[in-house]
């Protein structure tokens, strides 16, 4: 009995195959309306992850809000004038009325608690209840602001030109929506003031929104670029669109499956369409070979079947390699990464399925004359590209030793670059330099204590321990120690409130701006403060049983490393001061970012190594030879090393997008080697030693090599669009993939001939003869 051939079936029943594909595609569209999106990049760590559980606990203990937006109000002439102050008051009032704002804890001139003494009377209440209209009132306000370290660098800058309103958000509120509402309010304000909106929720939620917009804009543009480039290559719109349909169908099937399974579309999965589109370019090899074959046979049906027979193995194996590269991700820890891996692996396998059914079927609809016209150009003897590729491969095969030597030198240099790689991540850095968010953040960080917030929780063994002078001095010392770090702009703790109350109780005598010397006084002064101040003032910095204290650390940068510095410094301080016994634990957004960054990064590095092993295994299986696998592996490794070396030299942080990419690129970049080695060996077999190895190499470079280059160019073209994205991770993805694809194509065409020439004795032992 004859074996069933999908290709032959498709060629014989092209109409049914196409209709079936379209019908199934429509089936997968059904779940689309149920699509849920999750725009929070931080949700890469599940709610049950240690850091999220701990941060929630800290938020609970100290009645903290997870998300805070800061609004900066700057006036070159100084903000302490009736006009600017009334704007601050008005804007604050409007903010208090917004849904999603934790109104009770908004910190602004009109809401922040101030403890002061006036004519012997203790005053605890909002710093500014009425806007002072005359000099006297303004001066009094200035004095109150600058004599209280809780205000300086927090709600007012040292130079008096910038004020800030801190707007904590209720759970589940969207930072971008609230930021947009604030923008509407400030847009209506006239005057010299400039406004800056900063804060993690704004950056994060803006990023989320932008990300989806980008995918909605860039995926289609990418697709169109690919159609265009294909058209330029083959001068046939119908076939270009066929290739696009192939990609679209796999995107729709995998997205449909993702949604149907109930997964939200996350930052990672939103990138899947563009990846699938790029992976679809592998079918280029079919087209490439088809035109050559058609030229030789002049028969469509035969050409298709012959083409499929000759490219079957490499096409299947590259698909396998790519799918395996992504499947590896399923075994990672980060859920959205796993979902993404599964989704792309599924899409890749579909693409291959289409390569053997849908694409051959579509070929049947193209008129013979048209094919002939295109195929006429496909001749390796007359074609310029093929000629160039032959020359390129000639470098390797004619000067194998020199090529390998140059390659080794490059590797050495790359290794030096590797050692310079700096692991870091900065969520605000995900926006471009001139963007509103970046500008606002740098202005605010210059003027005030820092927009990125982390906590250090001090935990003592027993109840009421925090009321002791020893504990208070300990925290005071720790604050001073942390304050020395260049990344730390300001710290706030219960000690700041205590010292303030103590001084005020002693009629503003600066001598008493200190921790009282006994526990009872400390307890009573704090109690006094809690009698009139907002409950959250103390709750935010000390827990109910006075066992744990929370030190707010404002950082001047969103670099994940900054919090690492804080943690290291805190541990050093702890070593230097063993008494009183105190445990110091980091928390807050800054800490989360550090953990998040590290976890995603190391997960990816792990995935990368796994990918490397898997890809090697697939090469061994494919070539049925460890030797050939090692040779085929070389251009890939070489490319990877060079790119990371370059990243090290350029000084670009090894951040989350890069780490994710490194994992993804392996499965795709190895394709070229599979095609090259596969077709080369096939050629040797076909010619049966009638052709020299050099000639076979040149033939491979000229014919399947053209497919490789076409594939790489197409791939690069589709991703190059992303270089124009407004968000840096997309630029990184674009630049990285473009470089990777082009260079690995070139390295494949140069290195492999060199290596094969050099190692022919070893490689072809008992093989070709």
């Amino acid at each position: 009995m004859r074996r069933f051939s999908l290709v032959e079936f498709s060629v014989d029943h092209p109409g049914s195959v196409v209709i079936l594909c379209v019908l199934i595609t429509m089936l997968f569209i059904i779940p689309f309306p149920r699509m849920r999106t999750d725009t929070n990049p931080r949700h890469m760590l599940p709610a049950t992850s240690d850091v999220r559980v701990w941060n929630n606990k800290v938020d609970n203990i100290f009645a903290l809000h997870k998300d805070t937006i800061a609004l900066g109000i700057a006036n070159e002439k100084g903000i302490l004038n009736p006009s600017t102050l009334s704007k601050i008051k008005y804007i604050t009032d409007q903010i208090l009325k917004m849904k999603g704002v934790a109104a009770q804890d908004v910190a602004s001139f009109t809401t922040i608690d101030n403890v002061s003494v006036k004519n012997g009377i203790l005053v605890v209440g909002p710093l500014m209840t009425k806007v002072p209209q005359h000099r006297k009132g303004i001066e009094a306000l200035r004095k109150m602001l600058y004599e209280n370290p809780l205000f300086v660098n927090r709600i007012i800058s040292k130079d008096g030109k910038t004020a800030a309103i801190y707007i904590p958000l209720e759970k589940g509120a969207n930072g971008k929506q609230i930021a947009d509402k604030i923008r509407e309010i400030i847009k209506r304000e006239k005057g010299d003031e400039k406004y800056y909106i900063v804060g993690d929720p704004v950056a994060r939620d803006t990023f989320g929104v932008e990300m989806f917009k980008l995918m909605a804009v860039f995926a289609p543009i990418s697709g169109m670029v690919m159609v265009l480039v294909r058209y330029l290559m083959f001068r046939d719109l119908f076939l270009s669109i066929t290739l696009m349909m192939d990609a679209m169908m796999s995107i729709i099937w995998s997205m449909g499956l993702l949604i149907a399974l109930g997964f939200p579309v996350h930052i990672m999965s939103s990138m899947a369409p563009i990846f699938l589109m790029a992976i679809a370019t592998d079918s280029m090899h079919i087209f490439n070979e088809f035109y050559f074959r058609h030229r030789e046979t002049k028969n469509k049906r035969t050409a298709i079947i012959e083409t499929m027979n000759s490219v079957r193995r490499p096409v299947r194996n590259t698909a396998l390699a790519t799918a395996a590269g992504f499947t590896v991700l399923i075994f990672m820890h980060i859920v959205p990464v796993r979902v993404f891996g599964g989704m792309v692996a599924f899409g890749t396998i579909l693409l291959r399925l289409f390569s053997f059914s849908f694409i051959p079927a579509m070929f049947m609809f193209v008129k013979e004359e048209k094919l002939e016209k295109i195929a006429r150009h496909e001749d390796i003897e007359s074609d310029r590209t093929s000629g160039f590729l032959k020359k390129l491969a000639g470098i390797g095969s004619n000067h194998p030793k020199k090529t390998v030597f140059v390659g080794l030198a490059c590797v050495l240099i790359a290794l030096v670059g590797l050692t310079r790689i700096r692991v870091n991540n900065n969520i605000v850095g995900w926006f471009k330099k001139g963007s509103d968010i970046r500008v606002a953040d740098s202005v605010m960080n210059k003027a005030l204590g820092g927009t990125c917030l982390g906590y250090v929780v001090a935990i003592s063994p027993g109840k009421n321990d925090m009321k002791t002078p020893e504990a208070m001095h300990y925290i005071e010392g720790l604050q001073k120690y942390l304050g020395k770090l260049p990344v730390v702009g300001k710290t706030i703790s219960v000690v700041d409130y205590l010292k303030r109350v103590n001084m005020v109780l002693h009629n503003d005598n600066p001598k008493y701006y200190a921790v009282p010397d006994n526990k009872t006084t400390i307890a009573q002064e704090l109690f006094l403060f809690s009698m009139s101040a907002k409950p959250s003032d103390l709750d935010n910095v000390v827990d109910y049983p006075y066992r744990r204290a929370n030190i707010w650390v404002q950082l001047k940068t969103w670099d994940a490393r900054a919090m690492k510095d804080v943690i290291n410094a805190a541990q050093q301080y702890r070593k230097m001061h063993p008494y009183p016994p105190m445990e110091l634990k980091p928390a807050g957004t800054a800490y989360f970012d550090l953990v998040w960054n590290n976890q995603v990064l190391w997960d990816m590095v792990e995935g990368f190594i796994l990918s490397l092993v898997t890809v090697l295994a697939i090469l061994i299986l494919d070539f049925r030879s460890i030797k050939w696998a090692v040779v085929g592996y070389t251009p890939l490794l070489f490319t990877v090393l060079l790119i990371y070396g370059a990243i090290g030299f350029i000084g670009k942080d090894f951040d989350m997008p890069i780490s994710v990419l490194s994992c993804l690129s392996l499965g795709m970049a190895v394709d070229f080697a599979i095609h090259f080695v596969g077709r080369f060996k096939q050629r040797l077999k076909e010619t049966g030693g009638r052709e020299s190895i050099e000639d076979a190499l040149l033939w491979t470079a000229a014919r399947p090599g053209k497919g490789i280059v076409r594939n790489a160019v197409l791939f690069a073209a589709s991703f190059s669009v992303m270089i124009f994205a407004p968000l840096t991770p997309y630029i990184t993805v674009g630049a990285f993939i473009v470089t990777m694809m082009l260079s690995s194509a070139v390295f494949t065409l140069v290195c492999l001939p060199a290596l094969i020439t050099l190692l022919q004795g070893w490689l072809l032992k008992g093989n070709a003869g």
Binding site: N60, I61, L122, V123, T520, Q524, E525, K534
Partner: protein, 284 residues
């Protein structure tokens, strides 16, 4: 409901505006016949006047041990224990003096707090800090600010003057077995920290059974409930009340023990001297 004997404590005076012309009476009777459901016999102002009398002004003076539990959203508990003494000077809504002695937390024991409430102007407050042996006057800048870190504001503790709000009876309702008037109280001043509060006032005792506070966005943010009411010396008295901030999840539960009315508190108690050395026989 009309014609039923209304609650009349010893303090109660007939509020103005309760007399009605005969015609109106018949009219009301007619309305009652037409709408057998319920007729509003009292205006919002009248109800809140009676509420103020029943809740904040019963007796000439009042003494109780007050236990306050501050419960954080995370379930942690902070306890306050104090003796509270109140004395009325003048009619309902008039001047009052409060003397508060703290027992707990133990490190603030002997702290005393004194408030003079004046109609029409800010209250005077003093605090004695034993560790510094110092009496300090505290400015009452904000009546909405928290009372000793609880969810109760100073307004909640000593009562809000009637003329600071407009009171509208909006409906009648039943909470548990208690028939209530529901009055909407809207602050006249714009700087209030909430838009309005709804009060469920028990028709029998005129004590608040429940109150809901709506913030500037008209979102519910605080809920007050009376959890236990008992007759003491002829005064219906709240033994347990709760204030929950539904936005933060923070709750304060207050229970009263050793309640005494008309103990005959002398005026001299309300002085700096007694703040520093409180008469323990009275405080106990």
């Amino acid at each position: 409901m009309r014609g039923k004997k209304r609650f009349s404590g010893p303090e109660e005076k007939k509020p103005n505006g309760e007399r009605r012309p005969r015609m109106k009476k018949y009219l009301i009777l007619l309305v009652i016949l037409l709408f057998p459901v319920q007729a509003f016999a009292l205006t919002g102002d009248e109800i809140m006047q009676k509420y103020l009398a029943a809740f904040y002004y019963p007796g000439n003076d009042f003494k109780a041990k007050v236990m306050m539990k501050l419960i954080s959203a995370g379930g942690e508990v902070r306890s306050r224990e104090m003796t509270m003494i109140r004395k009325n000077y003048g009619p309902v809504g008039g001047k009052q003096k409060y003397f508060i002695y703290f027992w707990r937390p133990s490190d603030v024991r002997n702290m005393t707090f004194m408030v003079f409430k004046h109609p029409g102007r800010n209250a005077d407050r003093w605090l004695f800090v034993p560790a510094l042996n110092m009496v300090r006057r505290i400015a009452a800048q904000d009546k909405y600010s928290s009372f000793v870190g609880s969810d109760f504001s100073y307004d909640n503790v000593s009562g809000r003057p009637l003329d600071e709000d407009t009171h509208t009876l909006i409906k009648e309702d039943k909470i548990g077995s208690r028939d209530c008037y529901v009055v909407k109280n809207t602050p006249k001043a714009k700087d209030a920290d909430y838009n309005y509060r709804l009060s469920w006032i028990d028709k029998k005792t005129f004590l608040p059974i429940k109150e809901e506070y709506f913030d500037k966005r008209n979102e519910l943010y605080k809920v007050f409930t009376d959890d236990k009411i008992k007759d003491i010396d002829g005064f219906p008295t709240v033994l347990k009340q709760t204030m929950k901030n539904v936005q933060t999840g923070h709750t304060t539960v207050v229970t009263y023990e050793k309640i005494d009315y008309n103990v005959g508190v002398s005026d001299s108690l309300f002085s700096e001297r007694f703040m520093q050395a409180p008469p323990m026989n009275l405080i106990q």
